[in-house]
Symmetry: C2
Subunit: 191 residues, 2 copies
Amino acid sequence: MQLLQDRIRREGRVLPGEIIKVDGFLNHRVDTQLLGALADEFAKYFDTSKITLVLTAEASGIALATVCAQKYGVPLLFAKKAKSDNIEGGLYQSDVFSYTYKKKFTYIVSQEWLSADDHVLIIDDFMAKGNAMQGLVDLVNAAGATLEGIGVAVEKGFQGGGDLFRRLGVPYKALAVIDRVDGTDLFFRED
Amino acid sequence: MQLLQDRIRREGRVLPGEIIKVDGFLNHRVDTQLLGALADEFAKYFDTSKITLVLTAEASGIALATVCAQKYGVPLLFAKKAKSDNIEGGLYQSDVFSYTYKKKFTYIVSQEWLSADDHVLIIDDFMAKGNAMQGLVDLVNAAGATLEGIGVAVEKGFQGGGDLFRRLGVPYKALAVIDRVDGTDLFFRED
């Protein structure tokens, strides 16, 4: 998506360790008009008439997923990061190893709000190795729900996560795929 | 706001310790159409033409604040909960004691995205004792920005937070104020 690529090129920053910082418009300060455009773009790739729920993960996925859910006329469900292993009953949970924070955490969603009847579109702001996304897919599977698609705003294509999910057999779309970082230069995969 | 009161009465649950659970439509599974109605209602109480930014706190405030920011045509900024005392530079920070989790945490926002030129509307989903809200107000003050108003979806009126901010001299609006809990019955303050 040209609009998003241009924005990343103009305002994104590359930090040591190939960290790509887009916190001025996507995941700290958030350009809500841009999110509307991203939600419209996702709608070209997914049959939004089939979905009953948009699923994302706290915290940085929530803004984008909210705008998507609102546009598609369905509820949003966000997986919470459990603070400890002391987790109450009635929850689906999945373990995730975070490379960013170098530790394991657990996503939880209430069984009350995700069921085998649901048709789920997962939306997240960022994908690197795909561990967090796998955690969300695990929650959908644990509930016996149907995964209708996976949408990601920015994919770090060189970290392999996107390719895992392209092989999964469900519609997958990343709106901007960064294939390579060279110093402070970003190289995008063409659509 | 009658719509929100009715929804809380119908779907909210009171848990031991006067905990009011609204996780089916406000802060876990989120009814995005309802959020649109809440954002429209807030706009009756605040001069949204004056604001440059909606500020909230991760994670549960983000969905509502996103819809508000989008409707008012301004960016959203969400304060992050710092994981440790090891916080990098270039940040405004405020310490908050959470009664829910019985521990202290720190809100941070990048100084890049909040400045003395900003006119800020704070939006959050819930208020009890007001500690988290005070943390957000502290961030606005640290930046020298102008606080234009505080909007809360659900206020637990009997825990005192709302009254602190009603005395602050800025427009304050809670869309549903629960004044008393008796067993599983909720008593709302009338507008």
